[in-house]
Point group: C2
């Protein structure tokens, strides 16, 4: 059904059982209905959204004022997009009915000239496009456009697509490089990648050109946002968390070599850069994009795939600055990192991109929601002391328990759309090969080497390392990602050891296939992982991982003051499945606790070590047993 571009790989998918089956089902059966309620202000105790109501007022169906943020509409957009992906996985009459009805409402809310943004419609339409830096009109349009494309692809219904084509036309009339246009670009990137999707299904090159303009105009002199803010009578200092780096217009994108500013903006931008570069064959732009990826993942990423070290500006800071207890590491930023990785995989089949995607998915993204999928984190720290979160304003953003909903609710629906579209991230097609990036139990079909092929995957990965794959018969290859963390593996074809070529992190199993059954066994020993010594925060400390999953200590298992715990360098790490723990698994080790009986704050004694059994659970499963301390990196001792 995807006709062009990177997301053309998978034509259908079904995920049942395994690790993700229940999660994807949970998104459909619990999260999306719950989020629908939230968008309709029907969640008791949650912050009101006002999202649907804003559309109703804009459509003339209700009286009232706009509620919420300038980008409030985007919450609905992400919900529609998630519903669309779910409808591709399995029919759901109720979700489709709700989506159809709300799309009717969106159409009714659209202005005659094509403009659509309830904030400006309910405030002052004369001010449209006057504050691109802050006011998210293009961002919101981008999300609604992604929803429109996805819903069209899932259902064939084009009502929302037509709405958004009109809105894109409105934008393109007012903003651009031509005489009489505003020479601006989005304050929050997002529409760039959405325009590429619109180009993919329409073939209309104007959409690609607009995306390219937005990418390449950014940061050019004279600085558009400085001029714009001056027109608004506002001084706009270049420095600081909310200066020019905040929205990445400090330099033209081709000259940017580090990821700066607001992490979600920066990574949506990088994803958009890749999208444009892929479609225009722009090597310089792709190289700039790759440099940003490398800066992020080699110098500015938490072990959990979290990015954005500071809550001030929800931003990147400086290389190797990865504090655990004041981290921001927004769920949406890790989702954005996944978007970027997936596009880089389209450009080059290099396993590292998929490794990063998997790191972000199984840790920060999954930690963004509770196991019951009813509460959500924005911020995903590496260590939490609840008392500090309550009393220290520098850590007030670091919540020890997930709230039900947020006034600014970008993360929950973003998670919903990611989890509903995993098929698009798990697979890609390259020449005559179907590449498998993520091991998810299920069946998919894809168009490879001119033929329709299917693949069945059976696995409990990442709980277990055994993966069985049954490709349909035909003349094509399979490329199976061998994660960089995997020290040993075993590959068999129809029961016999198979010697596949390993290149750039992928095992190539050459077709043609005939009744083929492939088994890939990844060694899943718990392992010690160290941050590069350049990371000041973690010097002398170690984290535990197993497969793609980072583990952590929680107070409920290990007692308070987790920073006093030490893991001896040679302590055995014992993994077990155990339903008594959230995530149903646990790593145990014999550790030590540094104690002191002294009340002195400073003394000539470092304290005494006492035996302390250590219990680690998967990071994604933390904060599911009430408020308590959590810590990923633990002191290591010889």
């Amino acid at each position: 059904m995807f006709k062009h571009g990177p997301f053309s790989s998978v034509t259908s998918a079904r995920f049942l059982g395994g690790f993700f089956g229940p999660i994807i089902k949970g998104v459909r059966e619990r999260m999306l209905p719950y989020q629908w309620k939230a968008l309709n202000d029907e969640v008791p105790g949650g912050e009101p959204s006002g999202c649907i109501r804003n559309f109703e007022i804009a459509a003339g169906l209700k009286d009232g004022q706009h509620h919420g943020f300038v980008f409030q509409d985007s919450d609905l957009a992400k919900w529609i997009e998630a519903v669309a992906y779910q409808l591709r996985l399995a029919p759901d009459e109720e979700l489709e009915r709700l989506a159809d009805s709300v799309i009717d409402l969106v159409e009714q809310a659209q202005m005659d000239d094509g403009y659509l943004n309830t904030y400006y419609q309910l405030h002052d339409t004369n001010k449209r496009y006057t504050n691109l830096r802050d006011d998210h009109e293009l961002y919101t349009a981008g999300h609604m456009l992604e929803a429109a494309v996805a819903y069209y692809q899932a259902t064939g219904k084009d009502k929302l697509l037509k709405v958004m084509e009109r809105m894109v036309a409105h934008i393109a009339r007012h903003i651009g490089p031509n005489e009489g246009q505003l020479r601006g670009y989005p304050g929050h990137q997002e529409i760039e990648l959405a325009l590429c999707k619109l180009y993919d299904i329409t073939g209309n090159k104007n959409h690609l050109a607009l995306a390219e303009y937005f990418i390449k105009e950014r940061g050019q002199a004279p600085n558009y946002f400085v001029l714009e803010q001056a027109k608004l009578g506002r001084d706009f200092p270049p420095r600081g968390a909310y200066g020019h780096t905040y929205a990445q217009h400090h330099l033209p994108v081709l000259e940017q070599t580090t990821l700066e500013g607001h992490a979600v903006r920066a990574l949506y931008m990088a994803a958009g850069m890749a999208d444009v570069a892929l479609r225009t064959q722009d090597q310089a732009l792709m190289n700039a994009c790759r440099a940003l990826y490398q800066n992020a993942t080699q110098k500015r990423m938490y072990i959990t795939g979290g990015v954005g070290s500071s809550h001030l500006g929800e931003a990147f800071t400086i290389d190797y600055d990865l504090p655990g207890d004041t981290a921001y590491a927004e769920t949406c930023a890790s989702i954005a990192l996944i978007f970027l990785c997936r596009r880089l995989l389209e450009a080059e089949l290099i396993g590292e991109y998929a490794d990063t995607m998997e790191r972000a998915l199984y840790n920060t993204c999954l930690a963004g929601m509770s196991l019951d999928m009813q509460t959500f984190f924005y911020v995903n720290p590496l260590s939490v002391l609840p008392e500090a979160s309550k009393k220290d304003d520098r850590k007030r953003h670091v919540l020890p328990v997930r709230p039900k909903w947020f006034g600014c609710a970008c993360c929950p629906p973003n998670l919903a759309r990611l989890l509903s579209s995993l098929a698009l991230y798990a697979y890609s097609v390259k020449d005559r090969a179907l590449a498998v990036h993520l091991y998810i139990q299920g069946d998919i079909t894809a168009r490879v080497n001119g033929q329709d092929v299917s693949l069945t995957v059976e696995t409990a990965y990442p709980t277990e390392g055994s993966i069985r794959l049954r490709p349909s018969d035909g003349a094509y290859d399979l490329m199976l990602r061998l994660p960089a963390w995997c020290r040993e593996y075993r590959l068999t074809l129809n029961g016999a050891p198979h010697d596949a070529q390993l290149r750039d992190g992928y095992l190539r199993i050459k077709g043609p296939f005939k009744n083929a059954e492939i088994a890939l066994e990844l060694q899943m020993q718990p392992r010690r992982v160290y941050a590069n010594p350049l990371v000041a925060e973690e010097t002398g400390k170690v984290a535990l991982m197993r497969g793609p999953m980072v583990y952590c200590l929680e107070e409920v298992d290990n007692g308070a003051r987790l920073h006093q715990l030490f893991l001896p360098k040679h302590a055995a790490l014992t993994w077990a499945q155990d339903k008594a723990f959230p995530g149903n698994q646990v790593i145990r080790a014999d550790g030590l606790r540094l104690q002191s009986e002294s009340t002195s704050l400073y003394s000539d004694s470092p304290g005494q070590f006492q035996d302390a059994p250590l219990t680690f659970i998967p990071y994604y499963a933390w904060a599911n047993r009430g408020e308590n301390e959590m810590r990923v990196f633990v002191h290591e001792i010889q």
Copy 2:
């Protein structure tokens, strides 16, 4: 000359040579003339003060508007107070002339009704006392009152004293517990301890009663500041860095058990509590004060004697929260801690109070100024990465190099007055004993056991541990503090070993004395000091001290990325005098640097250790060789 109360101990003092002689001379010859220029806006490149000019405008001598903070007058007050203390140490015609002339100006600026505060005088006198929470009128009056008392004591001149008695009378008419008065108290404590000084020299019990009222009214219900801010039409949320704890009115002081909020406010309050308790024999108040001291020093103080862990509200946070790289640890807060310790010593002769005083003095306070005494720190961190200070808003307050002056210039003149009045902190009189808290080369006289006695101290302390004391003849005792950090000492009287009673940290050498010469030799080996394991920031790390001085690593001696350095547990520590280093001394040790050749951010290798000679300099001498990294606590390895 001090007639009452705690500061009646020393009648005269002269400090030449030794460690502090040149510093005290430097205050007189360089710092006070420099600060006079700053107050007169004559420092090129420094932020303008406007302080003197504000008085000139208020006096009708110039036209113009008020410049600077609402407490701008207090900078002049602290300068006058420092001059007064210097005049007690040695005559200085020029400083006295300047002080006399500016006191004339202050008198001219005073309103007919006695009110004095240039901010309100140059804005709107109808608004006086309407915003006690924020507007520092009582704080500023307190500082000017301290200056008036000190100047009267130093010179016998009472012009400023009369001015301030009129201002105190104005305050007492408008604020207090009686019908028709504002039932308020200072938003920034300070006047409480100043009123006690005024009571000491006048014997007027109204002043003590007003101080006691300010202390005890604080935090009573209904909350005065909530009512006041409501009158101003402002909401005043109780929580957060600028909530009710910020100015310590969250609870009545007798119910406060932890030091909360703005550190300078909190410690000036505690000092005022002690002052009132000492003069009213209020045991409950003194106990409350002691509890606050214990909370500060057992749970909320940096190894350098710095206090106030967060720049948000310049405030205390929670127990054991002592981050090094985001510390606030304002110079003024450590000065305030010294004020508190000195008053507690007056209540009880317990060496710990003097130990804390000394810790704050030789580390945070002295680090508050450059070795040339021309530039100053507000913020005294335990580790600095200059790139982070420039680019990370969370650390922008942590400067790697001292600026010349500040728009808010509380710290430099506060240092000037502390260093000029060290005699009052080094000694006290208790019954028949003269107690020596700080070992400072010089001569002092004091009134002990009904007689005038003198004491000559010869020492290079704390550079060396040898102290010679020659008490004048007479029937009294000497009590010499034995610092808690001192593991071995040798005491001789007239050359023979002397077996003095050691109690509460003091060695009692009983008189009568006749041509007595006492030698105290304190062992000054460099030593390893550990934070209590409850301090998460420093677990697994060690700091070096020698005597009262904390040492630190600087990049200029040890290379960049100081966090990669480790000190082996059994490495020898070699101290030497060495003029090549700021502070003229150095500790050297064979250390290790953890390196990695990998560009991976996370890997299964912790990196490799390489030999790295370590060079530590005294903390107070850091940042005297340009912008570079600094770090106090270093990783320790077995």
